[in-house]
Symmetry: C2
Subunit: 335 residues, 2 copies
DNA sequence: GTGAAAGCGCTAACAC
DNA sequence: GTGTTAGCGCTTTCAC
């Protein structure tokens, strides 16, 4: 690997000069600058960022921890974040936590050792301690999507409560009275909020929510399928079901059709996230829009501000509105 | 940030000893080892991998360049690769090329500057030169999914030709004679292979493939929808359409239904990739299975071999079989 | 406008 | 068994 030294020697200048043309960090006469640049090209010189990082304490990389990059929501978020960070000159190290605390902590540890300039996390952790320790060590962190009580970072949330409440209200307005709810297997702040929004809407309308209509399902296709089958075993059957996320709603849609139910005539279904596929399923899925682009942008913005302006004060918590997108999987209950 | 020096001082040993307990790279008496480890924990020491990387020329990171992490195929591949690399102690820097050559080159340049230990690329580039230059500089690279003629790396391909041929043969066996084909907007080796497989099957059966049944569409939902609408304007209409990928097939499925076509009764549809959603669409999508797990595993294996064993010889090209998965979007043509 | 040189935090050869 | 120390390839202060 060719070094700055090699370039300096061949261009007959000092390493300082080479460094300065590299970083435009002080004036270099045109003659020398041209000479240096020519030699760099000739030698196919690629500045060693590891070495410069050792001096400058900047790596030009950030860590991004998501639960599961196979999930279309997280995949899109990861993509968008990579996009804004690329624009700002940073690379992103992508880590999947698999909803596993130990793994998440391992990734945090590694990322810290690698001296990433910042961290964006969609946490599986509910414990602020490992994260607060990072911040204490001057590592800018932004938490996305899931609130962790007591965390000292910027956090960007989605209007889970209101989004889900709006969905339930819509169903109520259509005339539904027996509405099922399918949750994640283990709850986290965001899922709790969504469920609260759902409950709140029913309560406002004085609708009873019997426990048999709440199922702790999962966030995968199969989970949604299983959950809806279970709900459909109830008598009377629910006329609508709301899901923690789109994927499980789509699995449920499939299972409902398999059970000869018509959607939405016999059963209304609502998801959450508004993944691209919702607009193409048959029927198209009514869902709550998750503002992915806005979240990625905001996350990038807040992180970059901490990194580059070194802001230390006031952590911000911003909540982006989620809103209902009415498509074709919802209708009035029959009868 | 606490350094090895701080630890050494506090534990009253030399930095060498600290380094050696850190890396288990030479024997350290239990007494000292315990003392050092205790101090490390007390000071919350996190070894600076940037610094060690400068000495060892290893960063413990690899680069992964995919066209678009929002695409479920690439998202899953990225996830799987992260998984195997995590298991081997590496982080992965994820980059989206957006099918843009300039961007892909920019990423390669950055990754090289960051001295990643290896690179896995799903190239948008057709030009072996930038990649061969990397290899010339001792950066292990493996190319996935798309062949680049003349490249000096390991490459892992999928049986595009045979997979697509099998799909077409299946359609032929069902009795289809007017079969449409929807390709990517600009072809790359893998799409060319797929198309060749399709052509080959028709040719074997002495079926004519009129140009109006071939559309250069795209790989997004909307593209598939547009493409199928265009195909359906032909008279006689095709009775089946094969798509370059699942996403466009799913978009087409939606559009076909919108045009009051029944799938598969009026129109058979086949995708490619077997993304998870295919098993849940209505109807479930017949497609060609893309061996994602096997590819990720193989890519990791080959890359790690180059990185850790420093193998220099013989580049390998492995082709993983792709096979037809018959679901519900295909049937005999009516009439 | 340019160069010399110290030093970032680690590893590893060498010395004892 | 353990310690000393010379770098790894850069950046940046200080000097001219």
């Amino acid at each position: 690997m060719v070094t700055i030294r090699d370039v300096a020697k061949k261009a007959d200048v000092s390493v300082a000069t080479v460094s300065h043309v590299l970083n435009k960090t002080r004036f270099v006469s045109e003659v020398l600058r041209n000479r240096v640049e020519k030699v760099m090209a000739e030698l196919d010189f690629h500045s060693n960022i590891v070495a410069s990082g050792l001096r400058t304490k900047k790596t030009g990389s950030i860590g991004l921890i998501v639960p599961d990059n196979s999930n279309p929501l997280f995949a899109e978020l990861a993509h968008l974040i990579e996009d804004v960070m690329f624009g700002a000159g940073y690379s992103v190290v992508l880590c999947n936590s698999a909803n596993d605390l130990a793994r998440e902590k391992a990734h945090i540890r590694t990322l810290r050792s690698k001296r990433v300039d910042g961290l964006i996390i969609i946490p599986s952790i509910n414990d602020p301690e490992p994260i607060n320790r990072l911040v204490g060590n001057d590592l800018p962190v932004v938490i996305m999507d899931r609130a962790i009580p007591g965390v000292n970072t910027d956090v960007i949330l989605v209007g889970d409560f209101m989004g889900m409440k709006e969905a339930a209200q819509y169903l109520l307005r259509l005339g539904h009275r027996r509405i099922g709810y399918v949750d994640r297997p283990v709850d986290l702040p965001h899922s709790r909020e969504r469920f609260r929004g759902f409950q709140d809407a029913l309560q406002d309308a004085n609708i009873n929510l019997p426990p048999e209509l709440i199922v702790r399902g999962g966030f995968r296709y199969e989970d949604g399928a299983q959950a809806v089958k279970k709900l459909l075993r109830n008598r009377p059957q629910p006329t609508a079901v709301v899901f923690f996320n789109d994927i499980s709603a789509i699995g449920a849609l499939r299972a409902a059709i398999d059970q000869k139910m018509r959607v939405p005539e016999d059963l209304s279904l609502i998801g959450f996230d508004d993944i691209p596929y919702c607009a193409f399923s048959i029927p198209r899925l009514t869902t709550i829009h998750f503002p992915k682009r806005e979240m990625a942008l905001k996350a990038g913005e807040l992180l970059l501000r901490r990194i580059e302006l070194g802001e230390e004060h006031q952590f911000e918590t911003v909540t982006l509105p989620a809103y209902l997108v009415i498509r074709e999987s919802t209708a009035k209950p029959k009868g």
